[in-house]
Symmetry: C3
Subunit: 100 residues, 3 copies
């Protein structure tokens, strides 16, 4: 079975980052994504001397390599200074590459 090498960008962020993130996905040309709620404990909580749980959203976006670069650049510049957020990238193989 032929698969196409692409990038899965996973972003874990505060729920109020949702609207600007969705706008960013459209701007960079991402053709689709999924989002689901997660509980998270992170280094953010350590600032208060503990590790409180809080509601987050996990976004998963499948994009071509060039779009991944652009998306990560924009996250670093425009989102990380303002939002508690983590982003990582995974190499994947995709069926139906025409959709992305």
């Amino acid at each position: 079975m032929k698969t196409y090498p692409m990038k899965l960008i996973t972003i874990i962020g505060e729920t109020h980052a949702r609207t600007p993130l969705c706008r960013l996905f459209e701007e960079v040309g991402a053709h689709g994504f999924t989002v689901f709620p997660v509980e998270g404990k992170g280094s953010q909580g350590l600032r208060d001397g503990g590790m409180p749980e809080y509601a987050n959203l996990q976004f998963e976006v499948i994009v071509q390599a060039a779009t991944a670069e652009l998306l990560l650049d924009r996250l670093q510049e425009a989102f990380f200074p303002s939002y508690a957020m983590v982003a990582h990238v995974t190499d994947i193989g995709v069926l139906r590459a025409d959709k992305f």
Copy 2:
């Protein structure tokens, strides 16, 4: 720690694909999977001139490489013509390979 190279197949599809997908997992010999609901925006929605959100299920199946090939082939042939669906594959290392 020894891990075993395996494949993680992730499938995002409409909720009504659930029963036939579970049947497929059994047929190809996948020994287990997880499923959870996600919101999705995809190229499917663009056909209507917008990007409406809709309810999807995200399936994650861990299989050996040969089973992954078989599963992806069957998805392409039997599911993609009929269902709005995306599938991708990731290389992973698994503990407890005897379970798969």
Copy 3:
């Protein structure tokens, strides 16, 4: 965009494993994780002659390679004998490596 090579550890386990797992994450020095509920069918269920669905939690932990080794060792030794659990590891690239 510079990303840092790290490991994503995914653990699917019974809900009552949550408290000891969270304690383990802290012990090995994992700085954060997400958790969300999933339905699972696994080889565990086959022991009863069927594949019943049951409630599980999926944990995702981002750690450096050395911490991943330690975490997987501890899972194998201290958790797998007692809990129905699956763990796998994926190579990822992370922005904001200072958080982990």
